[in-house]
Point group: C2
Amino acid sequence: MQDLLARRDALFGAGAPLFYQAPLHIVRGEGAYLFDAAGRRYLDLYNNVPCVGHGHPRVVAAVAQQAGTLNVHSRYVHAGVLDYAERLTGLMRDGLASVVFACSGTEANEVAMRMARLVTGGRGFVCTDAAYHGSSAELGKLTHAREPRDAEIRSIPFPQRYRPLDEGATEVELRERHLDALQAAIDDFTAAGIPFAGMLVCPILANEGLPDIPAGFMAAAAQRVRTAGGLFICDEVQAGFCRTGRWWGHEAAAVEPDIVTLGKPMGAGVPLAGVVASHAHVSAFRQATRYFNTFAASPLQAAAGMAVLDVIETEGLLRRVADVGGYLLAELKRRQSHCEAIGDVRGAGLFAGVEWVADRASKTPDRPGAQRVVERLKDKGFLTGAAGALGNVVKIRPPLILQREHVDAFLAAFDETLREVHAVP
Amino acid sequence: MQDLLARRDALFGAGAPLFYQAPLHIVRGEGAYLFDAAGRRYLDLYNNVPCVGHGHPRVVAAVAQQAGTLNVHSRYVHAGVLDYAERLTGLMRDGLASVVFACSGTEANEVAMRMARLVTGGRGFVCTDAAYHGSSAELGKLTHAREPRDAEIRSIPFPQRYRPLDEGATEVELRERHLDALQAAIDDFTAAGIPFAGMLVCPILANEGLPDIPAGFMAAAAQRVRTAGGLFICDEVQAGFCRTGRWWGHEAAAVEPDIVTLGKPMGAGVPLAGVVASHAHVSAFRQATRYFNTFAASPLQAAAGMAVLDVIETEGLLRRVADVGGYLLAELKRRQSHCEAIGDVRGAGLFAGVEWVADRASKTPDRPGAQRVVERLKDKGFLTGAAGALGNVVKIRPPLILQREHVDAFLAAFDETLREVHAVP
């Protein structure tokens, strides 16, 4: 391993990110499992890209078949690409009818921002103060670590119930506080002479730490945005494709976005992303930009994307995610009362966040505590990660094929970890 | 076809770009050929992404094998990704030792600009006035159609011998004129208080129309850039991977860049791109940004990239490109003297540009003429495109596997077209 790490440092540069104090040398994946070079098996509770499981035969076969038949750019007509676009948009409400394909969530969010700016004639965007929407220069302006903000970006405190802006506020009061912050940001653009373009937000605030969001916030926010002439963009790179137990995160968040961006699980590892919006908005974007993306809207992307939809439907993953995810969340919540360090448990579908704190009363974030748990779980053969605005949330976001028996195995390791680290009886 | 086009308009939005007045419905590719739904065969003289030929069995097998074994992000260690990075950087001079992988040329050029800005502490970039380096908001600032320029971007007239800045200037004088323009742009940044970051340029000026560049320009430009504290970035998204008959376009252009960006042919259709620079520069970028790209540096990308290198080497494509490309270029140049409409023929390796003009004396660009030739060639079963700063250059950029017999077939169709369109005897 030291040899591999030295080569990696030389070839990728010093500081290319790696998971875990003792990094893993993974050589194989199958279903919900990853295997290291020593043959050790890990239950994958982290990876959302291989959404239908690692190396799913149907996806592999579809990719191989298409790669051997045709893989070329989108300036020729290809029925398979149209079939995929039709099936994908058919999974969304009527107004979300057209799509721009891309290769990554970064590219998709770039397209979405450009589309909103073209359609509205505005420039200003609102995001949350713990957002991450991509790695380009433009999207970097929305990344929470980057201060000061660009003149065309305003951020608002992300809505959450666990660490409320006002201690003691009701859920409705809290929602209004965050909506006021959104309105203030919009008004601030007006005052600065910057026309408003919209809001870009993950409907389940995945990077923010998957908080419980005051009910009705997203729908009311979309209303405020549209009233001000902007478009409401849901970044569903993490929330989409049944992750929440609904097809789309915006359904889970009860909001109707103007634009939806998609990515990570979309092609099960074949780089594939997309921007779905109304025909009018996509057409306006097409005509103004003549956007072309060499690798996107290719037969290969369509084959991978179609295979993912096939597997989700034939294996009944939407229902299974709701079932297995509900079980996981309920079991984690049961453990919360036994352990002072678990400040909060929340999530939807197969996406859970467990917030680690010094104690429940103070809610002091315990980032090292979350990391310790992640490391222990990894040592026991269970892969999770630490995330969230404060880095103290243990993130559980497995492939969608997870079964109850996997959850039981994980819970046994989680209980063992709580006993070892926190002396939970 | 009308039905397909109507679906495409509905699903992709009105205005998604298509080639040819009567678009092609391509269903299969094999080697140097594409086949439409009616079974008609076209010799592909346009596509550079399937560089080793459409559906190359070795690439398909490598992709299928890896997709079935493991395809996961780069925060675990994977030997295959390191092997590929080692082999790739081993094809460049010693100083270009480390790599950041990405999914598209756009992402690669974003990384390169960010790297140069971080390393130099500068912001200002010089590009040419007919450049295209990607579709993101930041790279859009370098795109020639976008005026006025962003404050951090200056463009200079692209160097060329066919339409010289000064009629009658010697090649050396012309080179100095363009270098003066570069120096003026750099000085302009200084005067505006914008620290200089570097120059981003395709070493063969592919999008500009593949002009004959005054000898020594690129090396002298790199020197000027470095003297001013900037980095010289070669965008090899088109020029790399043997296209010019050399491994890298910067070799063909006789310049040693600080950063090289790669894309299109790199994964033969699997979205794969990269940024190669010194270990120090890549490390500085890693440490400042913690850059992570979900789909990049994956085992799937590495398998595809490695298979491409395997095929290039085992099939001797570097030598073949020089041979077949040299033959193609010589034959096109022979035809120039017979046809007033052919203003200029130039290129390197398997990349040729034929500039269409009203007549050789006036050099008046004839964009419709170039398009007419492209359409006629397509009707005869040969796929080319129209490109260049003025849109009047017939672009011939086939897969690298092209053989002399393919060239002969193309030349017969080209001669026929000249007879039909320009009454060339």
